[in-house]
């Protein structure tokens, strides 16, 4: 219980700091949003008038406070560009990014974990060596490049997947799955490579441990030892790497959404930055930051559930 309270308070402090940083950064950025809305032709008086309407003439501290108190009441302000409540815009976009990220993470787990185990168990054989070399490539190549390759291969050449027609889940389940599959795969490939290498190294390290020797002395098969003994110990490192992969996926989706023209948070972020739509950008950055911190918080809690050594110490 103490552990949870401790983790929870770190979580809250981190969020508070993040919100402060996010807010300050956008004050420092050059350019006046009111000017952007009104266009270059607007004179100083009109700009000042609009700033007053938007509350941009208040002191920074007042602006921060009203932003934060808005956050608590679900009012994230109004987008300058879309003239719409930020919350509505976000709610519109979040499912797209969420689906993309989830699918990508599921793909990473489904492909990365079995392959990692396979490579570790065939260590030293040529299959293992070739796969290891491929993972080097997977890590080195950026995801947007994978994106282009996949579009070229599956959409242009084989015409198996659409390249830029987004279908929402509510319209057509398989259509949606199709439109998410390629971007999710592009996003997953380097994470799969990281997962494989990491899992392989973890398993090979564990194989040198004394408890594995004990298990062998009991006459257990290698398969049993890997699945019942080593993976239990590898679970905690795997969880850590998953926390990192999730954060990475959120960042990566910004680019991939633009490559595949998916109307998610990533493409929105880029558009709203160029439009100097500060309320929107601020809320989005904060949202992403909170999500990353929250995932880390969850990972910490999961450690506690999974690792008996932490579970009983707290």
């Amino acid at each position: 219980m103490r552990y949870i309270i401790y983790k929870l308070s770190t979580f809250i402090v981190t969020i508070a700091l993040v919100s402060l940083i996010v807010f300050s950064v956008f004050q420092v950025l050059p350019g006046r949003p009111a000017q952007t809305i009104l266009g270059i032709d607007a004179d100083e008086q009109q700009v000042a008038q609009l700033e007053k309407e938007l509350g941009l003439d208040q002191s920074l501290w007042e602006q921060y406070i009203s932003w934060i108190s808005g956050l608590f009441s679900g009012d994230l302000g109004e987008s300058l560009k879309y003239q719409q409540p930020v919350i509505d815009i976000l709610l519109d976009r979040i499912p797209v990014t969420f689906s993309l990220a989830m699918l990508s993470i599921v793909l990473t787990a489904l492909i990365g974990i079995p392959l990692g185990i396979f490579i570790a168990r065939t260590d030293g054989k040529w299959v293992s060596t070739i796969l290891s070399m491929l993972t080097q490539l997977g890590i080195a190549i950026p995801s947007f490049w994978f994106g282009f390759i996949l579009i070229l291969l599956f959409s242009v050449t084989f015409k198996l997947f659409p390249s830029n027609s987004y279908v929402p889940w509510s319209e057509d389940f398989f259509g949606a799955l199709q439109s998410f599959f390629l971007p999710a795969l592009a996003l997953a490939l380097s994470n799969i490579a990281i997962m494989i290498r990491y899992l392989r190294n973890t398993i090979l390290d564990q194989m040198k441990m004394d408890y594995v020797r004990t298990a062998k002395c009991k006459g257990l098969s290698e398969r049993w030892i890997v699945y019942r003994h080593i993976l239990r110990n590898a679970f905690i490192p795997i969880l850590t790497i998953f926390g990192m992969i999730i954060a990475d996926t959120l960042g990566g989706s910004i680019i991939i959404e633009n490559v595949f023209s998916l109307p998610g948070l990533g493409s929105l972020l880029i558009q709203s930055i160029s439009a100097r739509d500060f309320p929107l950008v601020q809320s989005m950055v904060l949202y992403i930051a909170v999500l990353v911190v929250f995932i880390n918080f969850l990972v910490d809690l999961l450690y506690k559930v999974i690792d008996p050594r932490i579970r009983l110490k707290g």
């Binding site: 441990m209 004394d210 408890y211 020797r213 004990t214 298990a215 062998k216 002395c217 009991k218 006459g219 257990l220 098969s221 290698e222 049993w224 019942r228 003994h229 239990r232 110990n233 679970f235 690792d307 008996p308 050594r309 009983l312």
Partner: protein, 329 residues
Amino acid sequence: MVEPILDVKDLDVSFTFPDGQYKAIDSLSFTVHSNEVVGIVGESGCGKTLTSLAIMGMLPDNASITNGSICFRHKRHLVSLSEKEWQSIRGRAISMIFQEPMTALNPVYPVGKQISEVLIKHTKQSRKAIKEQTIQLMKQVGLPRAEALYHSYPHQLSGGMRQRIVIAMALIGEPDLIIADEPTTALDVTIQSQIIQLFRKLKQEKKVSMLFISHDWGVLSQVCDRVLVLYAGQLVETGPISRLVDEPLHPYTKGLIRSIPDRAKRGEPLYTIPGRVPPLKERHRGCPFYDRCRERMEICRTVRPKTVNIKEQMVQCHLYTEEMDVPSS
């Protein structure tokens, strides 16, 4: 005479290094009989652990058996078995107890399950029967509240309790032979004597046969019937433990006995044999102990001594010849 459970003959174990092959175990022969506890003693690096790993078929990748045979229950040759055949032997026919009970156990697996999986692997009983049998055995090795302990993790137990778990793990398959590699070295003195009592009890009640590795003559004399003195991978002397302690023949055994801490000589500096065990690559063809021997002769440098029987003892040293042999009747 009764057939031995374990019969090791002329065993050579060699390491392959980039610059060649080096013998770490050199023509080792010994037997273990039913309900007999045979000790192995020798300084660090003499090949005690290597001997037990060879018997378990778990030599490191760069080591292999290059000569000799290991017969188990006089029929199975424990050399050149397939991995599957080894798996059916380990834990069931031969099991092993390790020195460090903390690292020998899986830290994130309940200890009871670590014991019972031996039976899951080797028998076809129901899970419930296996669990009952495990708890029964946990009680027999002196673990209190075995039902609750079954679900505990290693870090929740004391060192002594962990070693009892490891011992239960080695016993549960009811093996014909147990190899214990310094099972008490990592424990503090009181726990050590409790564990020794447990071994004595197991020998009497369960009639176990054991190969018991230790540095400690005090421990050896409490549990062993016979002791093998190993030096640089060779057997230099063997005999009943009491004979070796009272009347060691080989200069190496004499040195080991002299270096036992003695209450009567408190305050005096502890005797140690000068020098060290020669590393694998510096072993020559004469007597392995030549460099450090106080009673060496010219012949020892070049000629490997033969094994000589003297009463119940066997010694490999040029100081003794067969003529001195007094046949024991």
